[in-house]
Amino acid sequence: MRLLEVKNLKKIYTTRFGGNQVQALSNVSFSVEQGEYVAIMGESGSGKTTLLNILASLDKPTSGEVFLDGKNIVTIKDSEISAFRRDNLGFVFQDFNLLDTFSIQDNIFLPLVLAQKSYEEMNSRIKHLSQRLEIQELLQKFPYEVSGGQKQRAAVARALITQPKLVLADEPTGALDSKAAMNLLKIFSTINDLGQTILMVTHSVAAASHANRVLFIKDGEIYNQIYRGSMSNDDMYQKISFTLSVLASGGEELE
């Protein structure tokens, strides 16, 4: 089943005084199937965060359409957008974005509280989840009391607790050391195996090599994509590295 469909997405940033125009996305189209694990790669400034923000309905495209589960999120009314985001999407950010006024547990509860779920339900959901992410011990602590890797796992728990259709992650391993990063990627693979659809922006070849499919963006367009098929993580790693080096050399069309 097709979960996400992106058609002819275009985004032009206009600076405040109308002077410079930056074309962040020129023409992006792709689709994501239910249960897929997709990584998006590209050079700095190629428009990855812009794309993710549009998918997250945090930003509007200049033109183009985005369908999530058949619903066009570009045309959703402003008043409904927060509820839509809450019910359908989960986010993991590079800098965790945990609120320091809340304990880890309350941070994880935040989207459920906003969705006005009962305390009993929140409690039963977090039990399961915190076990899987190995953060049961940390629930009563505050963000400043735990490590970066632990913070990121809490952020993942917050993204998953609403049981979203799609998890969006922007460089989730960016602020982690390699061990914590590997740990997180394993968690992503596990939840993906359980059927969770994931879309992840990353600079890390190691991170991307865990995905089923890797999209490459260059100059605001999809430049290439790699399907895992039956490849192992190591093979994926090789292939991604190769594609990136071609990309960097300004390379001519592949395949």
């Binding site: 609120l99 320091d100 006024t101 304990s103 935040l110 509280v113």
Partner: protein, 661 residues
């Protein structure tokens, strides 16, 4: 390293932290100006030559002390706020390779610059504004003749000394801050506030009890004397209670709310409660400061304004007649005195109103039921007892009374008429020594005085059969330092322009005393000058301190907004990302800010409401009993202050919201 390296770095730092250091320097300048102005007005030579300036000088001296204490506390507070915000920056220096002693050197130069700028601008400002305020003071106390106002070199020196000491102390505390912390701590310094605050039931309880005690005292005070004695006790309790409740009570309450899961995990309460816990932890002391400062502003302004406005009404209480001249009946030639008075009246063309003259005897006694004693019973001589029993007794012979009232009463040897200025005399008889007198009538009015609310002791006028009876009683009751014989009094009112009457009063006093130095003259117009000095001085100080405290409040509010703006902007973004509506976020945030802001104001208004009974009693000690007037002054004060407060809030909220977007 270049020897200018540290001074340069210090200057760069001050500029970079301008949005906090400029207000800080302004505070320093303001405090220095205030201090110097008070000192220089206090030591003005011309002031010494004014009659009745002793009270005024005492009030001004109080002002110097209050401003001094205030400056120490407030500059310390703002300084600690600044250094806390800069811990991260200092930690960075230390990681970049500056040793602690180098950081100390930078801090030293920073303080030197702040000191130089503040002292020079503050003193110049003080010299300029001092003259203006001095003229204002003279105007408030109705002093017409111009006095010169010079630069007060001693004042400059004292001010410089005091503030150098304060700045040195802040520098030392900053050194200590750097010394006791390692770079990681310094780097994290800004984040220490993020710890979940601890609350303690004990502190909360202490707060509740203190506040309750303070309020209880305020409500239970009955006499002006108690009010004067207990007011400061109540103030101390209320201050302790305020700090304890803001610091611990608020958090205990919020944590209790948080424990109630059903309540806490509602989307509206969830964010408010945890946000408030966090804010209260950071701001409790600041908010308590604002609350207490606001209360002080309100109480000072409302009392001083009430006194100043109310003094017109009060003066008649002190002086039923404009002029009263008294001398020993046997040794004074009242015809001659009267001639002198008439001569002086003619000279200045003063018209006179009513006039009365009569014999009298005056003494003090202590009332015990119907017995009037010369001295108090020893073991009961507490202050309260004293003020309950002390009685001012005036004896007047019947024929003088009949003459003045045109009446035709008669009395036996052992009978009296009584007029009590305060509550009616409750006994049937009156005993002096071994002699008992029967009260035949309670008079409702008397020419020499009128009914008023009396708050300390009693004032009785007794009409007796004749001079002989008066003499007998007087000889029994008089004290050693009272005049030997009974007195004669001449009382009259004056009409005309106040300035002419002032001049007349002074001339007359001089002329009469020249003829007979033992004569006692009481004069409303001379007394007025003194009252104006007293209440005018109070008003001046009240307005002066009120403005100073107000400035402090504004500054604390500004610092609060700044320090929260940065942090809240991050939170604002995250909440949107996890699915909170933009408008919803805005609403919650502005609700929180409103609560945090108006909590101290609400606290201050409650404090003032509870203080009101004590204030009215205290003012009664100054013979201001016009409660509607006091109420009106307080109400206007509260409304005006609330408006100013709201204005400050709106202004700083603008800079806060700018940070958030």
């Amino acid at each position: 390293m270049n020897k200018f390296f540290y001074p340069k770095l210090a200057l760069v730092n001050l500029k970079k932290n301008g949005n906090t250091y400029i207000p800080y320097i302004l505070t320093c300048i303001g405090s220095i100006m205030a201090f110097y102005t008070m000192v220089s007005i206090h030591s003005n030579k011309g002031l010494d030559q004014m009659p009745g300036s002793t009270n005024l000088k005492f009030i001004l001296f109080l002002g110097i002390i209050v401003i001094g204490i205030f400056a120490v506390i407030f500059l310390f507070y703002t300084n600690s706020f600044l250094i806390k915000r800069r811990k991260k920056e200092l930690g960075l220096y230390s990681i970049l390779g500056l040793e602690k002693k180098h950081i100390a050197r930078v801090l030293f130069y920073e303080t030197v610059f702040v000191t130089i700028i503040s002292l020079s601008l503050g003193l110049i400002g003080g010299i300029l504004i001092g003259k203006l305020l001095f003229l204002l003071l003279l105007n408030i106390v109705h002093f017409k003749s111009p006095l010169s106002f010079h630069i007060d070199y001693w004042g400059l020196l004292i001010t410089t000394g005091v503030f150098l000491a304060i700045f040195s102390l802040t520098l030392v505390t900053n050194f200590l801050q750097v010394k006791i912390s390692n770079p990681i701590d310094l780097l994290k310094g800004g984040q220490h506030g993020e710890k979940e605050p601890k609350s303690s039931w004990i502190v909360t309880l202490i707060g509740i009890i203190s506040l309750g005690t303070g309020y209880g005292i305020a409500l239970s005070v009955e006499t002006p004397l108690e009010a004067l004695l207990l007011f400061f006790v109540a103030v101390v309790f209320v201050i302790i209670g305020t700090y304890a409740l803001f610091i611990s009570g608020s958090i205990t309450l919020l944590k209790q709310l948080k424990k109630n899961k059903k309540f806490y995990y509602q989307s509206r309460n969830f964010i408010s409660v945890s946000g408030m816990i966090y804010r209260m932890k950071q701001n409790a002391v600041g908010l308590a400061n604002i609350c207490i400062l606001s209360t002080m502003v309100l109480v000072t302004l409302s009392t001083t304004v009430s006194l100043y406005i109310g003094q017109e009404g009060m003066r008649r209480d002190f002086y039923p007649w404009d002029v009263s001249i008294m001398g020993e009946a046997a040794n004074t030639d009242f015809a001659a005195v009267k001639a002198i008075v008439e001569l002086e009246k003619e000279k200045l063309n003063v018209r006179s109103g009513d006039e009365i003259s009569f014999d009298l005897a005056h003494f003090r006694a202590f009332q015990e039921g119907s017995h009037f004693l010369k001295d108090m019973v020893e073991d009961e001589s507490t202050d309260t007892m004293y003020y309950e029993r002390v009685s001012n007794m005036t004896l007047i012979p019947l024929d003088d009374y009949n003459r003045l009232t045109g009446g035709n009463k008669s009395l036996a040897e052992n009978e009296m008429l009584i007029f009590s200025v305060g509550d009616n005399y409750e006994e049937q008889t009156l005993v002096f020594g071994d002699d008992q007198y029967l009260i035949t009538e309670q008079l409702e009015a008397i020419p020499m005085d009128f009914k008023k609310t009396q708050d300390m002791g009693h004032t009785y006028y007794l009409i007796v059969k004749d001079d002989a009876v008066m003499e007998t009683i007087y000889q029994t009751m008089k004290n050693d330092d009272d005049p030997q014989t009974t007195l004669h009094a001449l009382m009259f009112n004056l009409e005309g322009d106040e300035e002419i009457l002032n001049a007349f009063s002074a001339n007359m006093r001089a002329a009469v005393l020249q003829s007979n130095p033992d004569i006692n003259i009481q004069n409303l117009y001379e007394a007025l000058t003194e009252l104006y000095f007293f209440f005018g001085g109070f008003l001046f100080l009240g307005v002066f301190l009120g403005s100073l405290f107000m400035m402090a409040t504004v500054l604390i509010i500004y610092f609060k907004q700044i320090s929260e703006g940065y942090e809240d902007s991050e939170r604002f973004v995250i909440m949107q990302k996890v699915g909170m509506d933009k408008t919803e976020v805005k609403k919650t945030i502005s609700k929180q800010i409103l609560m945090v802001f108006f909590l101290p104001l609400a606290g201050a208004i409650i404090h003032v409401a509870f203080a009101f009974p004590v204030i009215t009693k205290m003012l009664a000690a100054f013979r201001l009993t016009n409660i509607p007037l006091i109420f009106l002054c307080t109400l206007v004060g509260v409304v005006v202050y609330a408006l100013v407060y709201t204005g400050v809030y709106l202004l700083t909220a603008r800079s806060y919201y700018k940070m958030i977007h």
